[in-house]
Symmetry: C2
């Protein structure tokens, strides 16, 4: 079994996780959680989103969070930015790195951004240009790379089409999202085989949701294809807007367990992530679906 | 990606699942659940255990359950049998196939059976002889094939040692159990590489617990090694006696989702298994950790 020696975890819980929780987590609590994450060995945290609060009220405190967290200089603190207005706010709050996003499928892109795929590129180009001019690296998310809740299965060629245009803008890395968590290893393998004809493994990250329990199996297939960057959320935060009661992002602690037990280094402390997962469970008042959080909870109770 | 075209699911929920639930499920309810499972397309169900009720009070009604279920002639109804006394009761209740069990590690075997590994073989031999004489096939479980809660990691050679002696008795198939759900694909791969030097893939089944979320990743590795038989439990029933609050067996419905989406046939109806999972959730009054059960629950609620 050919596996990389080291993997980078990109913690997206404070953004992708909390934006999908129903309740508004108080700003103080968010800052504490991010500070707790900053002490786990992570070197990349996506802390918030500058999407308009009308769309994501859960993260209406984006600027305050980004300004108030305790910065560790070893860590990149990133934020999601939808347009030039958002970029202005993010830069003003001293974001380290900017993420832009769109979908590989027309249906989801239309629903999420209210534009066609081709209409989206100029909007993102403006953000990328502005971020690069301000000396910031830009990461791109492509959603629905396996399947779309509106259009069904996504052709790998469609993902290549979107990725090529994003890389042409000067984006450093693209994160490929199985947004609705339907993917299985054969599909991930087919996607990556096609992507790796056009791009290098180090240009890509994988972003799995564990809605149907397949995330870690998909991670294995990605590792076998040479991918070394994965997005995940502490506690497995996030849920899925298209499947009520379902799981969210793959849990950082579950991903760490898998990687560490296979001898793959991440630099991240599993126990500290488990503790952060228990912290958010106490705040939202419910148990999350993460397996390693459940084990830590059981140990605390006994 | 090389994968088999067809996989056999061995449903062990009524035995391995219910024996680890804290409450005693009423006999009528057990019979109904098994009848419900008999209508899903499964062709193998382990319905109960004839271990003495002193040790597993949850299954004290083993004989009644086995006698009262509605038999489908396409299905093998199996039961776990620890010794000759248990075999007598199981045969009397018209069991189709017998399962015997022991561990690959001394610590777990001692704790579970109160005998050393070498002391266990003669006890099982008596059961196997009796079952074969009665015209029944015998399946063997080997527990703790990856790691033991007492002895740590299990050497693959130790699993081979136990398996060879069981096959010599005339056992048809051995199910390899990651009893405490700690295994990761590299370990499963190492185990199977060693096992397949000695035995054929069709002699082996894999039995994963999803305690740390790695079960489906381990299934992928097993499939890549040519394994085509998997144990699972509807709803992901079972818990783990060594990790409070943790998940149990890999959920049949989650396994089915993975296999079917990859084009692997099982003959089992995913929706019907999801419904059976919701039935047991209503009986025990709590949500199980299965992802596909959570999705079915969400659909019912909305």
């Amino acid at each position: 079994m050919q596996l990389p020696k080291r993997v980078q975890i990109k913690e997206v819980g404070p953004r992708d996780g909390l934006q999908n929780e129903i309740m508004f987590i108080p700003t103080d609590a968010k800052i504490k959680l991010i500070n707790q994450l900053s002490d786990t060995g992570l070197n990349y945290i996506e802390v918030t989103s500058f999407v308009h609060p009308k769309w994501i009220p859960q993260l209406a405190d984006a600027a305050e969070v980004l300004k108030e967290i305790k910065r560790n200089t070893d860590i990149t603190y990133a934020a999601l930015v939808p347009n030039s207005k958002g970029l202005e706010r993010a830069l003003d709050a001293h974001v380290d790195e900017v993420s832009v996003f769109m979908s590989a499928s027309e249906g989801h892109n239309k629903s999420n951004i209210n534009k066609s795929i081709d209409e989206t590129f100029p909007v993102l180009k403006e953000v990328v240009d502005g971020a690069l001019a301000a000396g910031k690296r830009v990461r791109g998310y492509i959603s629905t790379v396996i399947s779309c809740p509106y259009d069904g299965y996504t052709k790998p060629e469609q993902v290549v089409y979107v990725a090529e245009r994003l890389f042409d803008m000067g984006i450093t890395e693209i994160s490929l999202g199985d947004t609705i968590g339907v993917g299985v290893p054969t599909q991930v393998d087919a996607l990556l085989q096609e992507m790796l004809h056009h791009f290098k493994a180090e240009q890509l990250a994988m972003h799995f949701h564990d809605t149907r329990g397949t995330a870690l199996a998909n991670v294995m297939t990605s590792l076998a294809n040479g991918i070394t960057k994965f997005d995940s959320a502490f506690g497995g935060l996030g849920g899925c807007p298209y499947a009520k009661g379902a799981s969210g992002n793959v849990a950082t602690e579950d991903l760490l367990y898998l990687l560490h037990e296979m001898g793959i280094e991440t630099g991240v402390n599993l126990k500290k992530i488990q503790q952060t997962a228990l912290s958010i469970e106490r705040i939202i008042g419910k148990n999350l679906s993460s397996k390693l959080a459940a084990i830590a909870r059981g140990e605390e109770e006994s």
